[in-house]
C-alpha cells in the first residue's frame, strides 16, 4: 500500500538568533529583525512522512501557509526529499490563530488527498475522507540532513509570487512587460519542475469568513517585551573562597545538606 502523505510545516522565528532588536520601541514586533527558519519540530514530522514513504511507498506533500517568503521552507522541504510542496498564500489567510489555521490547512489537505480514479469510461475525482491524522512529538525521528543533489536541483525553485522580485527588482517595468516576463519565467520554472504551486482561498474552496483574522476567535490583547527586573542577586566571587562562602550559605539555609 502506498500513502499520500501531507506534512504541515511552518516558518518560525529563529529563537537561537533573536536579538534585542526583535521589539520596536512602540511595543510591536520588528519582523525584519526576526530571522525565520523551518520549525524544528516540523522537521520531525517531515522525517516521519519521508520514512513512511521510503518504507511503504507513496508521496509526501509539504504544505505551509504564509507570505511568499514562507516558500523558503518549501525549498528546504524539497531538499530533504519531499515529492511535492504547496504554498498557501492569500491576504485573507493573514493573522490566523489556531482555529483559522487548522480550518485552512484542513481545506488544503482535502485538496491534496483528492484522488482521480479510473471508472468505466473515464475518470472521477474523489475527495477521500482523511483516514489518519497524526501529530509527531518533538522527540521522534531525528531529521535527516538535506541531500546535496536535491539542494543543487531545487535551490532555484520559486513560487509565482516570489517571481516579481526576481524579474523586476527595481519595480520599474511597465505592467504589460512585467506580466509577459512573469509568464515566461513561470513557464520556464514549470518546465524545469521548479515551480512551487500556490493556492489561495479560492483554490481550496475555503469560506474566507473562517480564515485569517476573520476566522480567529482569539485576539492578542498585549505583547510586552520580556523586560527583566533589575538584578537583586548576591554576587559570589569565582574563587575558592567565594565558593566556600556560597556552599556555607546554602548549607546554613538547609538548601544543601
Amino acid at each position: 500500500m502506498s500513502y499520500k502523505i501531507a506534512v504541515c510545516a511552518k516558518q518560525v522565528p529563529d529563537t537561537r538568533n533573536i536579538t534585542g532588536d526583535a521589539m520596536n520601541a512602540d511595543g510591536t514586533i520588528n519582523r525584519g529583525a526576526l530571522p525565520a527558519v523551518f520549525n524544528p519540530e516540523d522537521k520531525n514530522a517531515l522525517e516521519m512522512g519521508l520514512w513512511l514513504r521510503d518504507t511503504h511507498g507513496g508521496e509526501v506533500t509539504v504544505i505551509t501557509m504564509g507570505p511568499p517568503r514562507a516558500a523558503d521552507i518549501l525549498r528546504d522541504a524539497l531538499e530533504y526529499g519531499a515529492d511535492r510542496v504547496v504554498l498557501l498564500t492569500d491576504r485573507g489567510f493573514a493573522v490566523a490563530d489556531t482555529l483559522a489555521t487548522s480550518y485552512t490547512l484542513a481545506k488544503a489537505i482535502g485538496r491534496v488527498v483528492k484522488v482521480r480514479r479510473l471508472i468505466d469510461g473515464g475518470y472521477e475525482t474523489v475527495e477521500a475522507k482523511l483516514p489518519v491524522l497524526m501529530t509527531v512529538p518533538s522527540e521522534a525521528n531525528e531529521p535527516r540532513p538535506p541531500r546535496a543533489k536535491l539542494i543543487m536541483k531545487y535551490k532555484k525553485a520559486k513560487a509565482p509570487s516570489e517571481l516579481i522580485r526576481l524579474i523586476d527588482p527595481a519595480r520599474k517595468l511597465p505592467p504589460d512587460e512585467l506580466e509577459k516576463r512573469w509568464k515566461e519565467k513561470e513557464y520556464e520554472l514549470g518546465q524545469a519542475g521548479l515551480l512551487i504551486p500556490e493556492w489561495d482561498g479560492a483554490a481550496i474552496a475555503a469560506d474566507m469568513e473562517q480564515c485569517g483574522f476573520l476566522g480567529s476567535p482569539t485576539r492578542v490583547m498585549k505583547a510586552e517585551g520580556a523586560v527583566l527586573k533589575q538584578a537583586q542577586h548576591k554576587r559570589a566571587e569565582p574563587t575558592d573562597e567565594g565558593m566556600r562562602q556560597l556552599i556555607h550559605e546554602l548549607a546554613k539555609d538547609h538548601i544543601l545538606e
Binding site: E139, P217, V220, K222, T239, A251
Partner: protein, 341 residues
C-alpha cells in the same frame, strides 16, 4: 444551557489506566482562583472506563462537580471518541472556561475539542488570570475574560491572549506551572455520570499495543537540579555538570540551546518546551536565561547562576550569581562542597 454552569471553569483531568496525571490537580488549584474571580464553580471532567474512583481526589482538590464520562470504548485513549465526548458535554453544559494539561495527551485532545466547538485555544500558557478587555477596533468592552498568558517569538515577548466572543475560552498549561495544592477531604462535590453518544465514526482507531517507556530522568521530582546551557560548549564537557550533580546529589538538566546543540538528550530539557521544575536548588551553568528557560525554572526555591556574561538575563532571577567561566567555577564549587564535609 444549564444556568448553574454559566460561569463554570472546567479542568479536563487526564487519567491513564486509572491514574490521574498530576497536572490536572495542579490546574484545579488555579481553576478555584479563576472561578472565584468570575463567580463560578470549578468542575472536573474525567473520561475513561471504570474511573469513578477518581472523583474523590478531584473533589478533594477543589472540584465542586465531577463529570465522569465512563464508557468501555474510552478505556484506551484515542483522539476522536475523547474529543467528541468532551465537546458534546461542553455543548450541553456551556462552560465559560476549559483548561487542559499540556501533556502529550492534552496537546492532542485540546485542539480537537476546540475545533469541534469552533472556539479559540492558547497552548502552553505560563499564567492564567481574569481581567477586562476593550477591543481596539470596536471599542467594545468585555468583562472578566480569561487572560491566556504565554511567551511568544522566542521568548522576546510575553503575549496576553483573549477570546472575547466565543465560548468556552480554552487553554493548555504545562505541568508544574501551577503549584499542586493540598487536598482537603472535607470538601464536598457532586458526581455526574455522563453517557457519551459515540458512533462508529469516532471508533476508527484501535490501540493495538502499548509500551511503557521508563522515563530515565526524573527532573520533576528532583530537589536539586544542575543545568547546563550553550556555555558548556560540548557534549563531553557536560561531564562537568554531571560531576557537580553527582557530588550534590542532584539531577542533570539542560537548556534548549544545549539540547539543540546535541550536548545532551531532550529528556533533560528544562523550560517551556521541556519540563517545568521547582526544585529546592537550581544551579544554572552557562545558561543565558531566555524567557522560555526561565518559565520552566523560575519558581525554584534557590537559583544559583554561573555565567561569563555579567549581563546575562539569568542573573535577573538568580538568588546567587557567579560571574565567571564554568570550567573554572564548577571544580571550585565541587572542591568547596567536599571540603565542607
Amino acid at each position: 444551557m444549564n444556568d448553574d454552569n454559566k460561569k463554570a471553569v472546567w479542568v479536563v483531568a487526564e487519567q491513564q489506566e486509572g491514574k490521574l496525571a498530576e497536572v490536572g490537580l495542579e490546574l484545579l488549584g488555579r481553576a478555584r482562583k479563576l472561578a472565584g474571580d468570575i463567580g463560578g464553580a470549578v468542575c472536573a471532567v474525567v473520561a475513561g472506563h471504570n474511573v469513578g474512583g477518581l472523583a474523590k481526589t478531584l473533589i478533594a482538590h477543589g472540584a465542586k462537580k465531577v463529570y465522569l464520562i465512563d464508557d468501555v470504548r474510552l478505556a484506551d485513549y484515542t483522539t476522536l471518541p475523547y474529543a467528541k465526548a468532551i465537546a458534546d458535554l461542553a455543548k450541553d453544559q456551556g462552560p465559560e472556561i476549559i483548561i487542559f494539561g499540556a501533556t502529550m495527551l492534552g496537546r492532542d485532545l485540546a485542539p480537537r475539542v476546540a475545533s469541534i466547538l469552533r472556539c479559540g485555544l492558547t497552548a502552553d500558557c505560563t499564567d492564567l488570570r481574569i481581567g477586562d478587555y476593550t477591543d481596539p477596533n470596536t471599542d467594545r468592552q468585555y468583562k472578566q475574560l480569561l487572560y491566556q498568558i504565554r511567551p511568544a517569538f522566542g521568548g522576546s515577548i510575553i503575549a496576553t491572549i483573549v477570546s472575547p466572543e466565543r465560548r468556552p475560552q480554552m487553554a493548555t498549561v504545562r505541568e508544574g506551572v501551577f503549584p499542586l495544592g493540598e487536598p482537603d477531604d472535607s470538601r464536598a462535590g457532586e458526581v455526574v455520570q455522563v453517557h457519551p453518544a459515540l458512533t462508529q465514526d469516532e471508533m476508527i482507531a484501535k490501540v493495538l499495543d502499548r509500551v511503557q517507556a521508563e522515563k530515565k530522568v526524573d527532573l520533576k521530582g528532583a530537589q536539586i537540579i544542575i543545568s547546563g546551557g550553550a556555555g558548556v560548549g560540548s557534549a563531553d564537557n557536560f561531564d562537568l555538570i554531571r560531576d557537580l550533580a553527582d557530588v550534590l546529589g542532584g539531577v542533570v538538566g539542560a537548556s534548549r540551546a544545549a539540547v539543540d546543540a546535541g550536548f545532551i538528550s531532550h529528556d533533560h530539557q528544562v523550560g517551556q518546551t521541556g519540563t517545568t521544575v521547582r526544585p529546592k536548588l537550581y544551579i544554572a551553568c552557562g545558561i543565558s536565561g531566555q524567557v522560555q528557560h526561565r518559565a520552566g525554572m523560575q519558581e525554584s526555591g534557590t537559583i544559583v547562576a554561573v555565567n561569563k556574561d555579567a549581563e546575562a538575563p539569568i542573573f535577573s532571577i538568580a538568588h546567587y550569581g557567579i560571574v565567571g567561566d564554568l570550567n573554572d567555577v564548577i571544580p571550585k564549587l565541587i572542591k568547596a562542597y567536599k571540603s565542607k564535609q
